[in-house]
């Protein structure tokens, strides 16, 4: 059997909100252990597409999809697909840091606990590892039992990343993870993403084109729900094939 390097294969995929077509006819492959950035102006459907990869769109009762998304060959919109299992394997980090109103420790231990892990020593180990991987351990190791809400914005976002990492996901989806952060916190998160890429696949939606250029291997440009261009980040930013892409990345609209 041929080793498939694509972790996601999106085929003729459409997403509707009632009658509005938010994502239109997208076919796209996402390679494992790479960072894929999705860029495009506001309202182009990039977040909607991202959220469809672990079926977070299901929470919006008016949304409906057409077409197929395969995660490691599994049709994730098939009737029999276990959404809960999917979300454990494909985690998500949101635009605004959203720790639970409990301690740093409890935030990270949440995922393992719902998997049924209750042994203190094992939980301690998972929490410490996740915080180390999220590059937050050094800063919070003395206050893991303090409220996660008392951290700075950048720390909160890394806490959310640690919380996702505690589930040992294969993919992490980032929905504009730095848009609410200052430049230094942003740089920290970007370094972290490049470090994480060695062990997991990352898909990031971003408004910040420099960010996409700095950290991603592949870039997809979306406009009005359609995928305009997809390719190596270098190609997209240096030598875009499509006129719209060029206009967007040079800042003529957006």
């Amino acid at each position: 059997m041929v080793e498939n390097k694509n972790i996601f294969e999106i085929r003729d995929f459409n997403i509707y909100y009632v009658d509005f077509k938010a994502v239109s006819n997208i076919t796209l492959d996402i390679e494992a252990y790479r960072i894929t950035a999705i860029i495009g102006p506001s309202g182009c459907g990039k977040s909607t597409l991202l959220r469809s990869l672990n079926r977070m769109n299901d929470l919006i009762t008016t949304s409906r999809v057409e077409g197929k998304v395969f995660f490691k060959g599994i049709d994730i919109y098939h009737r029999d697909t276990d959404v809960i299992e999917l979300r454990k394997r494909v985690g998500m980090v949101f635009q605004k840091p959203n720790p639970f109103p409990s301690s740093v420790y409890e935030n990270v231990a949440y995922g393992p606990r719902i998997r049924g892990i209750n042994k203190k020593s094992l939980l301690d180990e998972i929490v410490e590892n996740a915080l180390i991987r999220a590059d937050l351990w050094k800063e919070v190791k003395d206050k893991v039992h303090e409220s996660g809400m008392s951290l700075s914005g950048g720390q909160m976002q890394r806490l959310c990343i640690a919380r996702s990492l505690a589930q040992e996901p294969e993919v992490l989806l980032f929905d504009e993870p730095t848009s609410a952060l200052d430049p230094i916190s942003t740089a920290n998160i970007e370094n972290l993403l490049q470090e994480l890429q060695k062990t997991i696949t990352i898909v990031i939606v971003t408004h910040n084109m420099q960010q996409a250029a700095r950290i991603s291997n592949y870039t997809a440009f979306m406009y009005l729900g359609e995928l305009i261009e997809f390719g190596d980040t270098d190609t997209i930013f240096v030598n875009p094939h499509h006129k719209l892409t060029e206009e967007y990345i040079t800042g003529r609209f957006g």
């Binding site: 979300r87 639970f100 995922g111």
Partner: protein, 330 residues
């Protein structure tokens, strides 16, 4: 000539301020009056004798003003009601806020809120003419006669003897007007109050918490149980406390269905005379400025202190959890 705008602003400010203060002052004066009138009975009969005396014979000669049976009457109906109304009220709130389809929610939410404003005298009347007879003439024969017969016929050790006798003794309902009937009707009163406040608290939990939970692979039930409910503990406690506060102060229902006997209820089918019903039933007959009159104000003062304490607790609870949420301390 038109007034200067500053003068008009000032006038509006003064009017609004004085209206605001007026209601507060009136309440304070009523409170003051209550304690002033109540003071005399405690002074005359002794605080401990009044609070823990077990004989409430206000019209005997010499009269006795032991309020303990009245206080225990209130405690008994409140505890029984709480056992029924808190789980049901909270479960209703969770269903409406988290589980119900939005179309069901659209109907159910206003319906529950409407129930909260159901006149309590109607509930009392319903309890008196419908529930009480059902309890005494339909339920009682079943559980205190047929059930023991059935148990005896099993010929099992303990079950056919001790348990059967216990059912025969304890499950006989002499009168349908007792604390269980009262608690049942009070629950009807309290459930909508608890569930509508609790529902607001659950709905106020930010969507981002739910998203975070779902994105980690939590199921709907895990999200409700481990994220939504813990994050709204303050609102849920306030709902429970306000619900209980309403039960304690509720007068019409207990007056009509609690049975009215000023004895300490020892069993769920005993009658009782909770504090509000004692005041309502006796105040009209107590001669002005008599000891009985002061004793009823004493009952009122205790009632006031209890409900005041409950609202202090609810305030404290909501402050404490708000502090946790914004990360002040944990």
């Amino acid at each position: 000539m038109a007034l200067k705008w500053q003068t008009r602003e000032k006038a509006v400010e003064i009017i609004v301020t004085s209206v605001g203060f007026l209601s507060v002052i009136v309440l304070l004066l009523i409170g003051f009056f209550l304690f002033k009138e109540a003071f005399y009975i405690f002074y005359k009969a002794g605080v401990l004798k009044v609070l823990f005396g077990t004989a409430w014979y206000p019209t005997y000669e010499p009269p006795s003003f032991g309020m303990f049976p009245l206080i225990m009457g209130t405690v008994a109906v409140t505890v029984l009601t709480a056992i029924m109304a808190i789980p049901l009220g909270l479960a209703t709130a969770v269903y409406i806020a988290e589980i119900a389809h939005y179309k069901v929610k659209e109907i159910l939410k206003p319906l529950v809120e409407m129930l909260a404003s159901f006149p309590s005298v109607v509930l009392g009347f319903f309890g008196m003419v419908v529930i009480a007879p059902i309890l005494s003439s339909w339920l009682s024969p079943i559980i205190s006669e047929r059930l023991p017969e059935l148990l005896r016929s099993t010929n099992l050790p303990f079950v056919s003897t001790t348990l059967a006798d216990m059912c025969y003794d304890k499950l006989f309902i002499a009168s349908g007007l007792n604390i269980s009937t009262a608690a049942l009707m009070l629950s009807v009163r309290a459930i909508p109050i608890i569930s509508s406040i609790a529902e607001d608290a659950l709905t106020a939990v930010p969507r981002t918490y739910r998203e975070a939970s779902y994105s980690l692979g939590a199921s709907k039930w895990e999200t409700i149980w481990r994220v939504v409910i813990p994050s709204s503990v303050s609102g849920l406690s306030v709902a429970v406390i306000l619900g209980i506060g309403t039960i304690i102060g509720e007068t019409m229902i207990v007056l009509m269905v609690a049975g009215g006997a000023a004895v300490i209820p020892l069993w769920i089918f005993d009658p009782a005379r909770p504090m509000p019903s004692a005041i309502a039933a006796e105040m009209a007959e107590a001669p002005y400025q008599s000891l009985h009159y002061h004793a009823l104000f004493g009952v009122g003062a205790i009632l006031f202190l209890i409900t005041f304490l409950l609202s202090l607790i609810s305030d404290f609870v909501s402050r404490k959890y708000r502090a946790i949420r914004i990360g002040e301390k944990i």
